[in-house]
């Protein structure tokens, strides 16, 4: 995505003139005058109203805020608006209309969530894993998912749901 840098719209006395930044999230282009140092997490949640992405730690230690930028799973608490290099996909953009993504289907089938707070980040992290590795082993899953904390301890269900989604994606391709 090409970032555009329009001229300041308004200037407040004593404040840095706010710039408008465009970003594309889930296929929709937004314009925000939030300071460019603002982490993507807070732009999504507080400026754009996309609250499916969660805050857990602010230091990239829990994975609750994981989203995709150009298909790559990133901790949105660590990427500033100004540094954003591509299109953003959040949990709200994973489904295609009413049709859930395969991981969302298997998350439901395996009844993964307990409190659910970390699950947006878990699913986004798992989506990147499956995009890169369509048949991950347990060790692959461990390596990919170790950065995503779940205080309810839903790990075994997450593992099962990822394997199941891998099977359904691969089966779909084969068929």
């Amino acid at each position: 995505m090409a970032l555009s840098w329009p001229l300041p719209v308004t200037a407040r006395a004593g404040a840095t003139a706010p710039m408008s930044t465009e970003l594309t999230v889930n296929g929709t282009t937004y314009s925000t005058d939030a300071p460019i140092q603002t982490p993507l997490l807070w732009v999504l949640r507080d400026e754009l109203g996309l609250t499916g992405t969660k805050f857990g730690c602010g230091v990239a230690a829990c994975g609750a805020c994981t989203v995709h930028v150009d298909g790559q799973a990133v901790r949105s608490c660590q990427i500033t608006l100004g540094d954003l290099w591509g299109d953003v996909t959040t949990i709200e953009g994973l489904a295609r209309g009413d049709r859930l993504a395969p991981l969302q289907e298997t998350w439901i089938r395996h009844q993964v969530a307990q409190c659910g707070y970390c699950q947006s980040g878990q699913i986004m992290q798992a989506a990147e894993l499956l995009a890169e590795n369509p048949s991950p082993s347990d060790d692959d899953i461990d390596a990919a998912m170790a950065g995503n904390l779940c205080r309810c301890g839903t790990y075994s269900a997450i593992r099962a749901a990822i394997h199941d989604a891998a099977r359904s994606i691969n089966g779909g391709r084969a068929g």
Partner: protein, 742 residues
Amino acid sequence: MSLLRKITRRSLLVGAVAITGGAAFGIYQIRRPVTNPLQPAEGATLNPYILIDQGGISIIAPRAEMGQGVHTTLAALVAEELDAEWDSIRVLHGPPAAAYYNAALAHGALPVADYAMADWQRRVTEGLGAATRLLGLQVTGGSTSTVDAFDRMRQAGAGAREALKAVAADRLGVAVDDLRTETGRVIAPDGTELDYRDLAAEAATRPVPRATLRPQSEWKLLGRSLPRTDMRAKATGMAQFSTDIDLPGLKCATVRICPYLGGGMAGFDPAPALAVPGVEHVLDLGDGIAVVARNTWAAMQGAEAAQIDWTPSPLPATTEAMFDRIARAFEDRPNSTMRDDGRPDEVTARIEAEYSVPFLAHTTMEPMGATAWLQDGHLTLWVGNQAPREHLKVAAEAAGLARENVTLHTVFLGGGFGRRVETDVTRQAAQIAAMLPGTPIRLTWSRAEDIGHDFYRPAAIARMRGAVAAGRATLFDARIAAPSVTRQAIARLAGRNIGGPDKGHVEGAFDQPYAIPHYRVAGHLADLDVPIGFWRAVGSSFNGFFHESFIDELAHAAGRDPLAFRLDHVAPESATAAGVLEAVRDLSDWDAPRADGTGRGVAMTWSFGTPTAVVIELQQASRGIRITRAWMACDPGLVLDHAIVRTQMESGLIYGLSAALMGAITFTDGRADQENFPDYDALRMDTTPRIEVAILQNNPHMGGAGEPGTPPAMPALANALFDLTGQRIRSLPLAPQADFIT
């Protein structure tokens, strides 16, 4: 068919009434009914659990959904009798109301071990349960939700079903007994179907028919593993937590409260905070500041930038000094001696040992947060919480409003574990909203604030004496010292101090089903004002470790296999508890030869009505010790949803293992030294063992599921480490003392 059409058309008028408020109706099987908070009009027959409008059937859950699946199981209780269609019901959190009192909380009131309770004692607790109705204790905790709701919510469903049938009978001119119900409809012998939605408003105005509950053999929903009602929302990012509420003109806030616990704020300079782009207000909260900004990040930057002059904490300056203060409690007479069998003072101890555990934080995935909006003198809050009436009361006080001018919506909790009984964040949100009338406030704590201002699991010390003879334990004498969660929490919640023996302080130790001739558990309450609160499994979270570690020491001293040793002592006391030990033995193939470089430990704790045994397996790998396997067996009696019980057991285990391995809050000058997950971590995908769970249903009384998995996990881990290394570690956490992979 024409009759149905006519009725449907007529009912649309009635339906319009139902749409405005929904029709709430049904049965309440207590002599004097409680006020139904869902009923706008006075004097109607009532049921606080069911709302039917043109949108369909909503079931009101009186308890908070914090991950434990309580919405699903409580809704299933109603739906089972109501014949509601499972896939189309909605589940809502109940408003703050006395109707939603938790009678099962009284179960723990008697100074008696659960396993040893006589029938008359159970009846006494049921009487006390009625008293909780007067207190209106609407609390989610103590692993009580299902036990409390089991009869009440089924009766609500059954009464509502019969009321709907009675209306249908009148309309169709058919005898009630000839009608049946199915998936939200009343069905007549000729096949005519009347939708509940069209019967609800009239049914709500009628006296409640008597209804008998269906026998278990006829259950269609209960006893299965149902699709959770919250799952789709949680897989799509649509589930709303405390800070996910979108309101017009919303501003974002955070707080920075004096980190020196018990200290305050002498003054502050807001200028550096106000210089942060996006910051709009810096507010004085008394013991700290709130920063209000266009987004949460700006608020957090502002809060960090503000110059604040803190006043010191009155707490001991070091963690060591805090433990000294706790140990001093041993010098005083015990607060309780709830088990005192035989003559322990006359038996010579063969083993004496001191155990200790640290303070722990809850670290729910969702840091503390709330949304609050003061509009035209009315305050509305959205907050995931475990005690709605308390939160509402505190919010009203903080905003200077009468309680009727406050509305509190309970939303999903991003983890609770006991933390969200506490009202601190709700108080702050109400304060901030009251200072900025008309502006909706989204208050989010930083993780550092969340860890630094927890109500911690208390640190505790146990001093044990024991003896064995002829392969059996002859003496188990425990003295346990810690500050009292019960006393501090009740002082906070009820505003008064209570005396008397503190059962919560010694639960998990005094109430274990072991036959030991000289067996004593004394509790000593320490005078230490670190903020402490309910942490998953509460007293059992430390007493389970003390008790089951020392049992292991006795087994070793007796030269016995630790599982067989336990069974010998447990079987005479409780067949139910012996059953879980046998089950975990079989599940883990305990008696099979062990591979080199592996160690196994076992522990069993009876807590919250459910005996739970755990076996942990460790493997010495080249990089260090790995927790490879875990086997659990529990017996909560009748199981309403197997998958939920199993996942709660796994969850409790992982929570306990995380704490035992690496959980510790330490303090310097009264300030927590830990700030975030890098220094207060938990098990991850790659460090969590493979877990197998056996669920038995031999317990004649229903027990809890959310907490009982936590206490035995900790000693089972330490006992496995002893088996692997020969090293008996008597203090937690283990990771700093052994070569674990974390």
